[in-house]
């Protein structure tokens, strides 16, 4: 099913490049009302990098994230996660591909209301049929500052705390790439800072690769580099970003035509 080998190869050790997209195209709608969300995007992200993806509404950044994370299938092009190519198949096959390779942090947390903090954290392991290491789950939750909230339910937590549970859940399976979709979009500035620091830690301390879609220049400044997207194409890159530089670039995004990366 997967061209570049099975899970066994993947478990031997991570590939040098955590994520690779080659000429990825995605179009929504049919003939007359067709909208090209992604127009031949090619990019590569090294292991242990923290990349922010920015662009105005409708620039295709969410589509990029969905295609790269195996939530959606591109019309054409190649997506390779940790050296393994994402190919066709049903939802079940995509799900199995994502397990162990990809972790998610969403704007709306997407924690299950019926499960406690600890249960939510180990859910991906349970679903993948892996042995649940409770001690490890506790450690991860303690590392995001929720060691004393194990038995709480999501509705007993603040937004920032819920997002930290989501980060713990993404970390516990030790995925190759973590995708964060506007992770601070629903948070106040203080909680947002904490969440961003934790995401940074996931990269610096745990060696994860992180891709974050955001429209907030301050959030983007926590990343190592920022990729700009406009009209479904890459429109520039900024390393060691500051909030001001990001905002400046974003404001003039329409001026410079696709530069490629």
């Amino acid at each position: 099913m997967f061209r570049a080998g099975s899970r066994r190869t993947h478990d031997k050790g991570p590939a040098a490049e955590a994520l690779r997209l080659v000429k990825v195209t995605k179009t929504y709608g049919s003939h007359d009302s067709a909208v090209t969300a992604l127009d031949g995007v090619t990019l590569g992200l090294g292991r242990g990098t923290f990349t922010a993806v920015m662009g105005p509404s409708g620039s295709g950044k969410t589509t990029l994230l969905h295609c790269a994370a195996g939530l959606d299938r591109p019309d054409s092009g190649i997506v390779r996660v940790d050296g393994t190519e994402l190919t066709g198949g049903g939802e079940a096959e995509l799900t199995k591909f994502r397990r162990g390779r990809i972790g998610f942090v969403f704007q709306q947390y997407n924690l299950l209301e019926t499960l406690t903090v600890a249960q939510n954290t180990v859910l991906p392991l349970k679903l993948a049929g892996q042995r649940v290491d409770r001690q490890r789950a506790k450690e991860v939750l303690a590392s995001v500052g929720l060691g004393d909230r194990l038995g709480h339910r999501p509705d007993q937590l603040s937004g920032g705390q819920r997002q930290r549970v989501a980060i713990a859940r993404a970390l516990v399976t030790e995925p190759r790439v973590i995708f964060a979709d506007e992770p601070t979009g629903a948070l106040d500035t203080r909680s947002a800072r904490e969440v961003l620091r934790l995401l940074q830690q996931a990269v610096r301390v745990h060696g994860r690769t992180l891709v974050m879609v955001t429209h907030d220049p301050v959030a983007a400044s926590y990343a190592d580099s920022v990729l700009f997207l406009a009209d479904g194409r890459l429109a520039g890159r900024l390393d060691a970003p500051t909030p001001d530089a990001v905002a400046e670039r974003l404001a003039h995004l329409g001026d410079n035509v696709a530069m490629g990366v």
Partner: protein
Amino acid sequence: MLAMRSIRHRPGRFLATLLCAFLGAAIIMTFNSMHDTAAQDGVDSTSSETLSTAAGVVGGYGTLLVFFAVASALTVNVRQRTAELTLLRCSGATPAQLKRMVVGEAVVVGLVGAVLAIGPAMLGGRALLEVFQDSGQVAGSVDHSFGPIALMTGIDITLLASAGAAFLAVRRATRGHEKRGGARRFLAYAALVAGAVSASSTFVFSATDAALMAPPAYGAILLSVGFALMAPRLLEGVLDRLRLSGASGWLAVRNLRERAGQPAGILMSLILFTAVATATLTMQAVESDAVEASGLTKSVDAKNLETLNFTVVGIIVVFVCVMLVNSLYAATSYRGREFGQQRLAGATPGQVLGAVGTETAILTVTGVLFGVLAALAGIVPFTVVRSDGVLPGAVYGIGAAVVAIGAAVTLGTSLVTARRVLRTPAVGAVAVAS
């Protein structure tokens, strides 16, 4: 004003309510047309008595069932529209206006249902009369008449039941959760004690008493009502003893435990359905066997009782099926977001379906178990007194059929609905259905 518009733009949502009102009105009119038929000139007294008894008993049952079925459908309907009702409240609608809207909708839907039911009820009444005539309970010369009693009671009862049920549903929705655990527990124990007393009082009667079937039948029904009222606690007890392996089972047990309120409603319908259907049909079978064995022919009264038993069970089965399908469909279709979250956390569609299936299977087994228990409490005393045995052979076949219907309806509805819900991509399901 609001009521008419909201119906015109979303007729689909009122389908379940309409179906309940239609079925209820059809049954009430069909049986109450027997009153009209009996009131005609030249009907002999035996025929007239048979017709009036049938109309009285089933008409009464029908009224209760319409009320419960419409109430259940409307409660689901109001729960689904919490967002819409909140929006209306935020745009300046007073609670009284909302109440008027929901009650108004229910009355309109009830009226449509009742009017639609007139035709089928006329045909049904004619067919029912033929059944009575074929079995010799009513003289062949009696003509069917669909008169003012059938029409008036049918429409009035349906409208009243719809309005009353809507009133209760919207009041419950706007008031929020109220815990009345004490009263409920008292009622449950009262029903259980009364049921046990009624079932054991069967032994006081002799085998040939005409009223022999009443105490065990009431006993079984009361016991099942008691179990139904205790449904949340019974479910908890079952879940405590359950050890399920696998991610789907793990999720299923946790979901049931946390959403105890909704599953309990489904459990209630299942217990009542299983108990009433199994008890009534089995006792009727035992009675028929006993009469046959004694070599006597059935009296008109006995035949009336048999017809009524079958009719009542038939009506209950149809209504409970409609209620189960409606509430399960609503409960499952509104879990799109939850399913989406499970899928994003790494669950395959198969695992989600597995969890839903396990949940429903636990509910079905629990409901059927306690339903059969209540039914046996009535069947065993009756069989001991009426014949020589303890457990009649008929109970296996009837029980299996009832259980099969219950399981097919619950599992079928929730799995088919869940499959449809899963067609929405996970990301979309999480975003839209918030």
